[in-house]
């Protein structure tokens, strides 16, 4: 057991400051264990979220030594013995108290995304999909909604453009629907005009912090951007569609209903 120094941000929406704690740390501990020890021995009312303690639920997201991390997956032995460790709440979301932030904006984004619309089942009552066709979607569905990607996204964090861009988490949620072999909906106009695919400038910060190692940018966001380009800006694709008589939606559903039309194929 060794004594370690911690600085934990304590406060609420009205402000706060770092408070210093000296804690006994056992071998093999993660930062969440140390915070729990502070909570049970020194500061019973220290607010933090956690659930699974195994990197599966995405509750204990915080900024540790300035880096967005899951506290349950951050081992103490990655730090130098004499290093003071700081823990503070995610910067991108409003503080509720101590290490807990208000992440309700994320839940509101999910609500905006048009739901999964499967094709009819086959005659024998099953859906047939092959593993190679679902590998990519399964990668996106590994997301544990820790919102670390949302926290580091420049569009949301630095520009505070929450009204224009749903953020990487929901871009991959959209990708998981658009690339789902059974899904029949078309969300491309909304991806461009409502969910803000154009705002992502591909710095890949989201991919770097993803604890599930989802290749958010290259496998999720870029293919969605390509679908938008194909639909709106690619003259060859546009000509092919014209020749074949394929009509794809370019207006969003809300634009179309404002004009009194259907906006093309549902």
């Amino acid at each position: 057991m060794a004594k370690r120094s911690f600085k934990v941000w304590r406060g609420d929406a009205n402000g706060g400051e770092f408070k210093a704690f000296e804690v006994d740390v056992d071998p093999g501990m993660v930062v969440l264990d140390v915070l729990h020890r502070i909570q049970s021995r020194q500061a019973n009312d220290l607010a933090l979220r956690w659930n699974c303690k195994a990197g599966k639920c995405g509750s204990c997201s915080m900024e540790i030594n300035g880096k967005p991390r899951l506290a349950c997956m951050t081992r103490m032995n990655i730090f130098r013995d004499d290093e003071t460790i700081t823990a503070q709440p995610l910067k991108t979301f409003p503080v509720i108290k101590d290490l807990v932030t208000d992440v309700s904006w994320n839940y509101a984004q999910n609500q905006r995304i048009p739901r999964f619309k499967p094709r009819p089942r086959e005659a024998d009552g099953t859906h047939r999909m092959y593993q190679e066709d679902v590998d990519r979607v399964q990668e996106f569905r590994k997301c544990i909604e820790c919102f670390l990607c949302q926290d580091v996204c420049h569009v949301i964090r630095d520009r505070d453009a929450k009204s224009e861009f749903v953020g990487p988490r929901f871009m991959i949620r959209l990708a998981s629907l658009e690339m789902h072999p059974l899904d029949t909906d078309d969300r491309v106009p909304e991806i461009r005009k409502e969910f803000g695919s154009g705002l992502c400038n591909i710095t890949r910060c989201c991919t770097e912090v993803c604890p599930e190692h989802i290749n958010i940018t290259d496998n999720g966001i870029i293919p969605l951007k390509e679908r938008v380009v194909d639909r709106y800006f690619d003259p060859v694709q546009s000509l092919i569609r014209k020749v074949r008589g394929i009509k794809l939606r370019t207006k969003t559903r809300s634009e179309a209903s404002a004009e009194g039309g259907t906006g093309g194929k549902p």
Binding site: N44, A47, C52, S59, R75, N110, R115, M129, L177
Partner: protein, 615 residues
């Protein structure tokens, strides 16, 4: 004086308490039936314990082995539960699980596929055939996310980070009339007035120090139902999952999926012996391989070979591991070795068990593709809980329903792996249907009374207002100490009696708990409030364990070894007595219908061929 009219009040037809698999499935059913449905959850949506389920959900779809059917699943469940299961629940579960799984696919779930493009199914302990629909080793996440993403478009009102404190009753007709809860963020109270409450609150694993359960698992639903006068059943059966992590200490108890063994992993002691061959009980001997060669042929897919003994039911494997450690043949940190590295190629392990690979790499610095894991038993699951009607999931209190882990009956004395996720979706749906039927038949709308609200709020706020008192975290640690030493994996009368005494003393200490700080997002206060649930749940488990004088499934009494032919005919029922003391009753268990008894006792070949139990 507290003015109840000033407390926030929200009306719904149905309140679902808990947003894990059972809660979400129940809420989806209620809203689909046109009921105004609210859900409260202690955590954020999508973080409930279901998210940690790894291996899969059991459903006899027969996609991998066409010999499978519901009757064999039913038979496996009864045998795994040592015949203490509620017959009808085991039947409903086995029959309806396949439809519930296919429905998840309709809602967006993406299961691993067979070569033919169907939902793949994997082997698991106690299941005769590959039966678990899965997504790698993160099936719980897939289940909860599919229900969540479907549910948010159904008009369900989600009240997140809101903890239930007490069920409110209408004294006219002794019916449910609401739930009192508090917002974790502000500490403010809220009264949900409703016609039905469906409890989907899980078990109470946090009463033990080594557990796979998260902080939420404090037996809230069990305790609230008990307080409201509902009966509890079979609570002595607490499942110790055989394979939890044992090292480092800070991760002790975290689950290692049974899928490791399903995919070929074997258990070894410190002498390198594959010891499970020494622990094959009579019941399972005819269907279990007795040589390494036969077990290996089974892993290779030889359908004539019998299953390896590592895939015996969880109670049997957990007891075997405990015996090996006790005999001095354990691993350096007090477990045994689970080896898949020498059994499967690295890329197979990474593909089929990705979370396990990362969990061990990142938390224990062990590469499971190269070295064995150290594992030992961890408190994982409550087979018992609130007694419910098999078809409607209604408790003994009108308007109160329960589904999932907090309800008793499906699993009997021991749950098979994979039967939990399917339990959630089968009985979550049935609870929703039951709630709708109850509401349809309801005459007047029940209303809570102010006195009950005032008393409950006072009890809660006293913890904050008190000048000084015991630290709730330290009391919780004390409780864990009692449960682990007195009500552990092997039990005896003396320990259990001491346990009851120690719990009584702890209850007195807990009356004077103090949580420093304000009511705004104060985990110390939340901890103190959950101690009440933990204490009721722990006392119920301990008293029931004392009454059941036999060893069956997950309940092992060293002073009463072996299953007793007498005790299989009884359930242990716990309820609140008239004077407020806990009453424990040995109650005759209804006999199974002849057609189900025939299926449960049939030879496997006769079930496959349809000779027994033809539809």
């Amino acid at each position: 004086m507290l003015d109840v009219s000033e407390i926030q009040t929200i009306d719904h037809d149905v309140m679902v308490v808990g947003a894990g698999g059972a809660g979400l499935r129940a809420a989806i059913e209620c809203s689909a039936l046109g009921l105004d449905t609210g859900v409260i959850s202690k955590s954020l949506l999508g973080k409930a314990h279901t998210v940690m389920a790894e291996g899969g959900m059991a459903a006899a779809m027969g996609n991998v082995d066409p010999r499978d059917n519901w009757k064999i699943h039913f038979r496996d469940t009864m045998r795994g539960g040592k015949f203490l299961n509620v017959w009808r629940m085991a039947e409903l579960h086995a029959q309806q699980a396949p439809d519930r799984v296919r429905e998840l696919e309709e809602w967006g779930a993406v299961f691993d596929r067979t070569k033919e493009g169907l939902i793949s199914q994997r082997n698991f302990g106690g299941h005769r055939y590959p039966r678990l629909a899965h997504v790698g080793d993160r099936t719980g996440l897939e289940l909860i996310r599919s229900l969540q993403d479907h549910g948010i478009h159904q008009g369900i009102k989600f009240h997140m980070e809101c903890s239930a404190l007490e069920l409110l009753k209408d004294p006219h007709g002794d019916r449910i009339a609401g739930v009192l809860a508090y917002w974790r963020e502000t500490g403010r109270f809220v009264i949900y007035r409703c016609k039905v409450v469906i409890l989907c609150t899980g078990g109470g694993g946090k009463a033990w120090p080594v557990t796979s359960n998260s902080w939420e698992y404090t037996g809230d639903g069990i305790a609230m139902a008990y307080d409201a006068g509902a009966e509890l059943m079979d609570v002595e059966f607490t499942q110790f999952h055989p394979t939890g992590m044992v090292w480092p200490l800070s991760v002790r108890g975290i689950l290692v999926t049974e899928g490791v063994r399903g995919d070929g992993g074997i258990l070894k002691n410190n002498k390198g012996e594959r010891f499970m061959f020494n622990y094959i009980s009579e019941r399972f001997a005819p269907e279990t391989a007795d040589t390494v060669a036969e077990a290996d042929r089974w892993i290779q897919g030889d359908k004539t070979a019998r299953r390896p003994p590592e895939l015996l039911t969880r109670d049997e494997v957990a007891r075997a591991i405990t015996a090996e450690v006790k005999a001095g043949r354990g691993s350096p940190h007090g477990g045994v070795f689970l080896d898949i590295a020498s059994r499967q190629p690295a890329d197979f392990i990474k593909r089929k068990l990705p979370s396990m690979y990362h969990q061990f790499m990142e938390l224990a610095e062990v590469d499971i593709t190269k070295e064995p894991m150290e594992v030992g038993p961890t408190l994982h699951y409550f087979m018992g809980g609130i007694r419910v009607d098999a078809d409607s999931q209604q408790t003994t209190v009108p308007g109160l329903f329960a589904a999932g882990e907090c309800a008793a009956g499906l699993h009997g004395a021991n749950r098979l792996g994979g039967n939990s996720l399917s339990d959630l979706i089968v009985f979550g749906k049935l609870a929703g249907d039951g709630a709708a039927a109850y509401i349809k038949a309801l005459g007047s709308t029940p209303r809570p009374i102010d006195d009950q609200v005032v008393a409950a709020i006072r009890r809660a706020t006293d913890i904050l207002k008190r000048e000084q008192g015991a630290n709730p975290y330290l009391l919780h640690e004390k409780l864990e100490g009692i449960m682990s030493s007195r009500v552990g994996i092997v039990r005896n009368q003396q320990d259990l009696e001491h346990g009851v005494e120690e719990l009584e003393a702890l209850k007195l200490e807990a009356v004077e708990m103090k949580a420093p700080g304000a009511s705004q997002y104060n985990p110390g206060w939340h901890e103190a409030l959950s101690m009440r649930s933990l204490l009721i749940t722990s006392e119920a488990v301990t008293r029931a364990a004392l009454m059941r004088e036999e060893s069956r499934g997950a309940h092992t009494r060293t002073d009463h070894p072996g299953e007793s032919a007498e005790w299989v005919k009884y359930n242990v029922i716990v309820k609140r007595g008239a004077g407020g003391t806990m009453e424990v009753e040995k109650r005759a268990k209804p006999e199974g219908p002849a057609r189900l008894v025939a299926i449960a006792n049939a030879k496997i070949e006769d079930l496959e061929s349809g000779k027994v139990g033809a539809d």
